[in-house]
C-alpha cells in the first residue's frame, strides 16, 4: 500500500473565494484546526498550478494563517482581466472557493488516520475523477 493517498479537498477543508482585480483568492479552513499541518503540506502552489492549468496565468501564492487553522491561496491572472472586462460568467471568481473542494490532494495515509481525517474517498491516483461524475 502506498504511503500517499489522494482525497478530495472537501474532506480536509471548507473555503470561500473572491476577486481582487484580475486575481482571486481562495481561503481554505481546515475542518479541524489540528489538520492545518496536513493542509499546509498538501495544498501547495505547485498542486494548485496543476489543477488550474492555463486557467490561471500568473503567480500562485499560499500563506498560512495558524490562528484559525487556514491557508490563503492567491491566484493571479485567473479572471480574464477582472470583473469589469472579463468575458467569464463568474467574473468575480465567487465559485472557485467551492469548486476547488473537488480537487484531490495528497495526504500521508498514516498521519491522516492518526489525526482522524476521513479517507473514505481515497484514491491512489491524483487524476481519479470518479468523484466528479
Amino acid at each position: 500500500m502506498s504511503e500517499i493517498v489522494w482525497i478530495p479537498l472537501s474532506d480536509l477543508a471548507h473555503g470561500r473565494s473572491g476577486d481582487k482585480g484580475d486575481s482571486f483568492n481562495i481561503g481554505l479552513i481546515a475542518h479541524e484546526k489540528k489538520w492545518l499541518e496536513i493542509l499546509e503540506v498538501s495544498v501547495t502552489p505547485k498542486l494548485l498550478g496543476e489543477w488550474y492549468g492555463d486557467s490561471v496565468t500568473g503567480l500562485i501564492s499560499v500563506w498560512s494563517m495558524p490562528g484559525i487553522g487556514a491557508i490563503n491561496c492567491l491566484l493571479r491572472g485567473g479572471l480574464g482581466g477582472g470583473a469589469t472586462t472579463s468575458l467569464m460568467l463568474d467574473a468575480q471568481g465567487k465559485i472557485w472557493g467551492q469548486s476547488v473542494l473537488r480537487m484531490r490532494v495528497p495526504v500521508n495515509r498514516k498521519h491522516a488516520t492518526e489525526l482522524g481525517v476521513s479517507l473514505n474517498n481515497q484514491s491512489e491516483n491524483q487524476w481519479d475523477m470518479s468523484h466528479l461524475i
Binding site: 471548507h14 473555503g15 470561500r16 473572491g18 476577486d19 481582487k20 482585480g21 484580475d22 486575481s23 483568492n25 481561503g27 479552513i29 489543477w51 488550474y52 492549468g53 492555463d54 486557467s55 490561471v56 501564492s61 500563506w63 498560512s64 494563517m65 495558524p66 490562528g67 484559525i68 487553522g69 487556514a70 490563503n72 492567491l74 493571479r76 480574464g80 482581466g81 477582472g82 470583473a83 469589469t84 472586462t85 468575458l87 467569464m88 460568467l89 463568474d90 465567487k94 465559485i95 472557485w96 472557493g97 467551492q98 469548486s99 473542494l101 473537488r102 487524476w127 475523477m129 466528479l132 461524475i133
Partner: protein, 551 residues
C-alpha cells in the same frame, strides 16, 4: 443579542455595538430597517461600494448632476429607517454617497424633515474624488501606474472615467466629534467605517483635537497616551469592520456548510461588539434566520484578502496570521489576536478607464448529445461572424463543467452527458458595430442550428465596458484636501419647500475642529464617551469604564 450578565461581570462593561446594514449596493434593501428595529445599536455602518461601483456612479452623475449615489439608501430610509435611526439614537455611517455625497446627504435631510427631525445633522465627507485634479497630480509627480499591469496612463491613452482614493477613518471620527447624526461619504475603505466610529467612541478623536493634532497625523497618534498598544487596537477594530462589511455573509450566507444554516430566507445582519480591552465579538440581529459560529466567521476573515501578514487599510496594516476565532455561546464568537503595523505611506486609488464594447447572450440546448449540439451551434455562430476583425468571442457550455478549470473540464467532457446545456457567449470589440452583428446572429440559430435549441430572447444591446485601474497615490496629495461639511437646517416650515442649510465647512479633518466645536451652539448632543485607564500591574487595558459626558 444581549450580553449575558456573566460577560458584563467579566468585562465590567457594555460594548459599543455596531451593526452592518448590508454588503453592497444591491443587497436586500430593507434589511437594515429590520436590524434597527430588532436590536439596540450604537452605530450602523453600510459599505455600498465595490471596486467598480464608483465608476458606474460617476457615469450616472454625468447624465444627472443630482444622482451618483446608492439609491438603496433612500429606499430603506423612506421605509421606516430614518424614523428608527432617530428613535433608537443610532448613528449611521455609510460610503453610499459614492460619486455625489452632497446630493445623497440632501436626500437624507429631506427624509429627516419628512418625519419632523429638524435638528438632524448630516455630515458630508468628500475629497476622495481625484479626477478633477488628475492633470495637476500627474504633472506634480504622481504616476498613477496600474499596479497589476505596470501600465501608465499615458501608455493606455483611454479616457479616465473615475478615480477615487480610499480615505481612512479619521474624517468619520471627526464628523462624529462635531455632532453628526448621519455620515455620508464617498470612497472610504470598508473597514474604516467601523474604525471611525470607534475613534470617536473610545475618545481618540477627542484626544486628537485636545492635542491640536493636524489632519495629516496618523490616527494611531490620536490614542490617549496611556494606551500602550494603539496599533493592535486599530488592528482589532479594522478586523471587526472587515468581518461585518459584507453583511449577512458572516451570518451564514455564502457558507460552505450552507445546509446547516437555519432559514436562509430571513437571514439577519451582523453586529460587532467592541470592548475596551479591544476584544471583538461578532453576533447577529435577533429578527430572523442565520447563524454565527467560528467556521463562518473564519470564512469571512479570509474573504478577498491577499497576504495575511499585511491586510492594508488607510488606518493600519493588519497582520492576521495569529487571529483566533472562538465560539463563546450560540451566535456569539470572540475574535482576538490582530496585530497592527503602521499605516501605509500611500493610499489605494480605484480608477476606471473607458474600455471596449460588450454584449452577452445565451441559448438553451437539449436532447441526446446536448453538448455536441451546443458545440455545433457555437461553431456555426463563429463561422458566420468570421469576417469581422477585432471581435473576441468567449464561449461557455454551462452544464458542461465550466466551473472546473479548463484542463479538468477537457478530461471530463467525453464522459459527461448532461440533459441540457446553457450555451453562453460573451463578446468584446473596440468596434460597436461588431457587437451589433453578433447580437443579430444569436436568435437565428433556433431555426438554422441543430434541433433542440430554445431560450432565445430579444437582441441584447452593446454596452461600454470600464477597465478597472487600481493604483496608488501619496497621502499628502489627498488628505490635505479632504473636506467635512455638516448639513442641517433650522427654519423649515411645513409649507416651505426651501431648505435653509447651515453649512459648516472644514478643510481637512482636524485642523479646524476646535473652531467648529466653539461655533456649534446649536448642537449639544449627549455622546457616549468611554474612558480608558491603565492597570500597570499587568500592563494592559483592563478598566473599561463608561461615563456619559456632555460635549
Amino acid at each position: 443579542m444581549a450580553v449575558s450578565k456573566s460577560n458584563v461581570a467579566v468585562l465590567a462593561h457594555e460594548p459599543i455595538r455596531i451593526g452592518s446594514g448590508g454588503g453592497f449596493w444591491g443587497d436586500r434593501p430593507l434589511a437594515p430597517v429590520d436590524l434597527l428595529k430588532s436590536d439596540d445599536l450604537d452605530y450602523m455602518m453600510i459599505d455600498y461600494l465595490a471596486e467598480l461601483t464608483l465608476s458606474i456612479m460617476t457615469k450616472q452623475k454625468r447624465r444627472d448632476p443630482s444622482s451618483g449615489w446608492a439609491t438603496d439608501l433612500e429606499i430603506w430610509l423612506a421605509a421606516g429607517g430614518i424614523d428608527a435611526l432617530r428613535k433608537k439614537k443610532v448613528k449611521l455611517v455609510t460610503n453610499g454617497g459614492g460619486a455625489n455625497p452632497e446630493s445623497c446627504a440632501r436626500m437624507v435631510l429631506e427624509q429627516a424633515t419628512k418625519i419632523g427631525w429638524h435638528e438632524c445633522k448630516v455630515a458630508v465627507i468628500s475629497g476622495d474624488d481625484i479626477l478633477p485634479r488628475l492633470d495637476y497630480l500627474l504633472k506634480n509627480g504622481e504616476e498613477l501606474t496600474h499596479f497589476e499591469s505596470g501600465e501608465t496612463i499615458s501608455d493606455n491613452g483611454a479616457e479616465m472615467m473615475s478615480a477615487n482614493a480610499y480615505l481612512g477613518a479619521g474624517p468619520i471620527a471627526s464628523a462624529l466629534e462635531i455632532g453628526a447624526d448621519i455620515i455620508i461619504t464617498g470612497r472610504v475603505a470598508d473597514a474604516s467605517l467601523l474604525v471611525g466610529c470607534m475613534l470617536h467612541s473610545a475618545g481618540w478623536a477627542y484626544n486628537a483635537f485636545q492635542l491640536g493634532l493636524t489632519r495629516e497625523s496618523p490616527v494611531v497618534d490620536w490614542a490617549p497616551k496611556h494606551i500602550t498598544n494603539p496599533l493592535d487596537i486599530l488592528a482589532q477594530w479594522t478586523i471587526a469592520g472587515h468581518l461585518i462589511e459584507c453583511g449577512a455573509q458572516v451570518c451564514g450566507g455564502n457558507y460552505s456548510n450552507w445546509d446547516e444554516v437555519p432559514n436562509l430566507a430571513t437571514l439577519t445582519l451582523p453586529i460587532a461588539e467592541i470592548y475596551l480591552n479591544s476584544d471583538v465579538k461578532i453576533t447577529r440581529g435577533r429578527g430572523g434566520g442565520g447563524m454565527v459560529n467560528r467556521k463562518i466567521v473564519a470564512e469571512q476573515l479570509i474573504y478577498e484578502i491577499g497576504d495575511p501578514e499585511a491586510y492594508i487599510t488607510p488606518d493600519v496594516v493588519v497582520d492576521m496570521r495569529n487571529i483566533t476565532i472562538e465560539d463563546e455561546s450560540e451566535d456569539v464568537v470572540v475574535v482576538t489576536g490582530a496585530v497592527g503595523k503602521p499605516e501605509p505611506k500611500s493610499l489605494k486609488v480605484s480608477a476606471a478607464v473607458e474600455g471596449g464594447w460588450f454584449a452577452s447572450s445565451s441559448l438553451l440546448i437539449s436532447g441526446p448529445n446536448a453538448l455536441a449540439r451546443a458545440t455545433a451551434c457555437d461553431l456555426a455562430l463563429r463561422a458566420r461572424l468570421s469576417a469581422l476583425e477585432e471581435l473576441e468571442i468567449y464561449t461557455e457550455f454551462i452544464g458542461g463543467g465550466v466551473t472546473l478549470p479548463k484542463n479538468i473540464r477537457q478530461q471530463l467532457q467525453p464522459i459527461l452527458n448532461p440533459p441540457e446545456v446553457l450555451l453562453r457567449w460573451a463578446v468584446t470589440s473596440p468596434n460597436r458595430q461588431n457587437i451589433t452583428e453578433f447580437t443579430r446572429e444569436v436568435a437565428p440559430l433556433v431555426l438554422t442550428g441543430p434541433a433542440g435549441v430554445g431560450g432565445y430572447g430579444a437582441r441584447t444591446k452593446p454596452r461600454r465596458q470600464l477597465q478597472f485601474w487600481p493604483t496608488l497615490i501619496s497621502r499628502k496629495s489627498v488628505e490635505s484636501l479632504v473636506k467635512i461639511e455638516l448639513l442641517t437646517h433650522l427654519h423649515i416650515t411645513p409649507e416651505s419647500e426651501r431648505f435653509h442649510f447651515i453649512r459648516k465647512r472644514t478643510r481637512g479633518f482636524i485642523s479646524r475642529l476646535q473652531d467648529e466645536l466653539d461655533e456649534r451652539e446649536w448642537t449639544r448632543p449627549i455622546v457616549k464617551k468611554l474612558g480608558f485607564e491603565r492597570n500597570d500591574s499587568i500592563a494592559e487595558l483592563t478598566i473599561p469604564k463608561e461615563k456619559e459626558v456632555e460635549i
